[in-house]
Assembly symmetry: C2
Homo-oligomer: 192 residues x 2
DNA sequence: TCCATTTGCCTAATCCATTTAGGCAATCCC
DNA sequence: GGGATTGCCTAAATGGATTAGGCAAATGGA
């Protein structure tokens, strides 16, 4: 019989595409195998398990997204950089919902440390360098940015914003302006 | 044979407890059935499907959480109300991680409209009434609060904050202060 | 109290995903 | 070309989801 020419890379790419089409949680070893016209068991020469396959898809998506974010960030600073950063994530999630979901897969500590997740964290801090924050404020801000962007994208994808007439794009811009204003002010500056 | 005395309510409660113990995605018809010492197929007299069971758990958790939030909010306004609101969500997620995950289940439009999700939205707007926002700013703010709180809780649960020494509670407080300051200012007020 | 109805839980069976073991054939390399 | 490797196969076990159909326990009316 002719061989399908499976490799880990081809499985991962096919899995990522499948995720975008039917959802990351619908990516199964069996479904990917069907895509190649091959028996399910055949994939186990290339990946250890279903979890292994999904982890590889997550790592792939993290890399891809980090590259896109890095591109978007090139040559920008301040509010420009902040908006480009935020938009890069949101665009990716809109274009590749399954892959975006994959990036949210919980990785064990060692895998996470060796992943492009590190680059994401670095880029977030790079943006904040354009504002004047010390520690621990910078860490607070990293967490806040991550929370807002991830939260917004995830609620938007879940259809949470479709019950109101207000354009999600306008809310998104308003939120970015808010974050920019907050960071320029150096934080909440608790005063009466 | 003695009957186990299954009812939809008992299944839902057991499912919610199981979710907190092993994770919402590990809640299966089979697992719940085991907890009652009953055959898997027996549950199908009470719930239509695995998806039906999970949806009911989600609705149950949404009600429970809405009640807690309402209690936390009673008699508070301004920053106090904002903090109580935020803490109620975060505490619930910490105490009942599986149920919190359940509240994130995507519901179809009709089910969502008949759920306690409506009360959650109302309470969010009630808090914003303490600030002076018109439309569409109030909607932007609703979306921002939802994004930040959900995003933070979800990143914290995923262990995303365990790589830095900064106390997550401090970041949480800083973020609430930031949101309060932003709302008091009436939004970003794009200037300079 | 007896019988009929309802209903709760069971057995049996099907379908599908995961995973392991072991085998044959295509491919690679000398 | 032939031996070693490796890719994909078949077979089989496990476990969850789901449906069909049956018996027995609870319920309630007479």
């Amino acid at each position: 019989m002719a061989r399908a020419g499976l490799t880990v890379e081809r499985l991962v790419v096919a899995g990522a595409e499948l995720a975008d089409q039917v959802g990351f949680d619908q990516v199964t070893v069996a479904a990917v195998a069907r895509g190649f016209g091959v028996q399910t068991a055949s994939l186990y020469s290339h990946v250890k398990s279903s979890h292994d396959l999904k982890t590889r898809i997550a790592l792939y998506a993290l890399e891809e997204l980090a590259d896109l974010v890095a591109d978007a960030l090139a040559g920008r600073a301040g509010r420009d950089a902040l908006a480009a950063f935020a938009d890069a994530y949101r665009d990716y999630a809109a274009r590749h919902p399954g892959r975006y979901d994959a990036t949210r897969l919980r990785l064990d500590a060692a895998t996470a440390a060796a992943s492009a997740g590190v680059r994401h964290a670095q880029m977030t801090r790079a943006i904040l360098r354009g504002y004047d924050l010390g520690e621990p404020e910078q860490t607070h801000a990293v967490r806040m940015l991550g929370s807002v962007f991830h939260g917004y994208i995830s609620l938007e994808a879940a259809g949470g914003f479709s019950h109101t007439a207000v354009d999600p794009q306008q809310s998104w811009d308003w939120i970015i302006d808010s974050l920019d204003a907050l960071l320029r002010a150096g934080g909440p500056r608790t005063s009466g």
